[in-house]
Symmetry: C2
Subunit: 315 residues, 2 copies
Amino acid sequence: MNNPAQRKILALSGGVGGAKLALGLSRVMAANELTIVANTADDFEHLGLHISPDLDTVMYTLAGLNNQEQGWGLAGETWSMLAAMKQLGGETWFRLGDRDIATHLRRTELLANGKTLTEVTTELCQQLGLSQTLMPMSDDPVRTFVDTEQGELAFQHYFVREQCAPAVRGFSFKGLESASPNPALLKLLNDDILQAVIICPSNPFVSVDPILKLTGVTEALKRSKAKVIAVSPIVSGMAIKGPAAKMMKELSMPVTADSVAQYYGDLLDLFVIDESDATLVESIKQMGVAVATTPTVMKTIEDREHLARFVLEQV
Amino acid sequence: MNNPAQRKILALSGGVGGAKLALGLSRVMAANELTIVANTADDFEHLGLHISPDLDTVMYTLAGLNNQEQGWGLAGETWSMLAAMKQLGGETWFRLGDRDIATHLRRTELLANGKTLTEVTTELCQQLGLSQTLMPMSDDPVRTFVDTEQGELAFQHYFVREQCAPAVRGFSFKGLESASPNPALLKLLNDDILQAVIICPSNPFVSVDPILKLTGVTEALKRSKAKVIAVSPIVSGMAIKGPAAKMMKELSMPVTADSVAQYYGDLLDLFVIDESDATLVESIKQMGVAVATTPTVMKTIEDREHLARFVLEQV
């Protein structure tokens, strides 16, 4: 594992869905070959803590600490702080588990000490024994706001507090224009050793777009010799997890995998869809996007490894 | 309870010992008669949280939420955050319980929103159902440093991290000179309705002194018509709790109740000592300090109530 990597694979990830494929990748390739860049536009400050939901979901998942039944957070979590906070009349809509709070306290402390989010993430990952590289898309704050029928909502207010109920009209990413992409991300995109960029089956609008829309990232992706492969987050007209399908409907997009292919457009060298969507192959090809089908629903660890292997075989 | 108070009683308190008498007082007098002012020179910032150990000990004790066996912290506490923090390589020497963290998060958040520590304390106490008045000695930061043979230590480093092991040479209270005493404390000291100031059996050096040494407080105490009554924290040559006896020894003071009486000096109108120290009555009287004896060791709730009633009877 200490040998120099023979190739590099970059995965772009949001939270749960992306973390599943990232875990699969981490199990079928050398640790030093894999770099995962996570969305940080979902990050927010809450009760004075810097919370990075997508980074944490990927980190906990790769460390084997995630709560698989619940789909988010840590296994064996306790909720004493939240119970006490309720008694104190503080905010309890964001479900902060007691173990999880250690991550946020430590991150907030290290950031206050002047470390970058990349440095903090590296330290947390090392402490949890990860040998893959996980990094934030940027060290600068980018914050997703959701334009809804009830007005503009900060992402976590939309996502957690309002449980995605308000109908979506659009998105804005505050800080995006002044944020620098993670220098290590740009370096990797410009490195010939990079063989593939895998866009995980994450929400295109609020998980993947913030990464792609960082200054210079899409250009570097298009310029890169690496093969850009996206896995559809939409299967049989539904999102496996999260509000992607609901958002597409509210944005008047057909809730289909080919609609996602069209959204990513000429960025893609290959689009991977679930075998249940095989009837969409022709329409995707007609967009000029190569397409491959395989089972993409990741219920078991074998499912995750299968999809990871399948994607790597397309490189 | 909504009638105007017929009298006011002020208790000056540190942590555990003071909280015991404060609880006794709260059970034998009307809530609107009792004001407790707690030391905040033990406060510190840890993991980005504003922690007020003495305020919290009194608050938890009056709310019936304190852990009686342990002597500090909350009953039914869990320790998940600390276990996770250890895994993350962060600081774990200060035992932050999960329920306790809610208090610190809420306090830190409200302070960051511009509230004073007095306002925050009032809000926390109201949420926990307290009807007595508990307030910090000051809204300004005062921080105790302990001069030891190992050099100067911030109080919680001395008290918790080093478990009071280094021999003490003296104390300094950073910020004391520029700190304003709580305006409500000065107002009460200048109010004729104030009948007594009870100095709880707390550590004279690090719990009571920071309150007394705030600009104008000792002068106002001496000027006040209220009777100043201290209860000895030293019984039979030992401290019931905490490092008071060890400190006295290291400061070359006799570890006796009369030594405490001498330390407080002409501030006192009455000094209450344990019946086991009755042989010290004459030497205390010779200092010009009136003295009363009664059982002062508070093991049971009845002990707390007894001592509270006894002190109030001396007013």
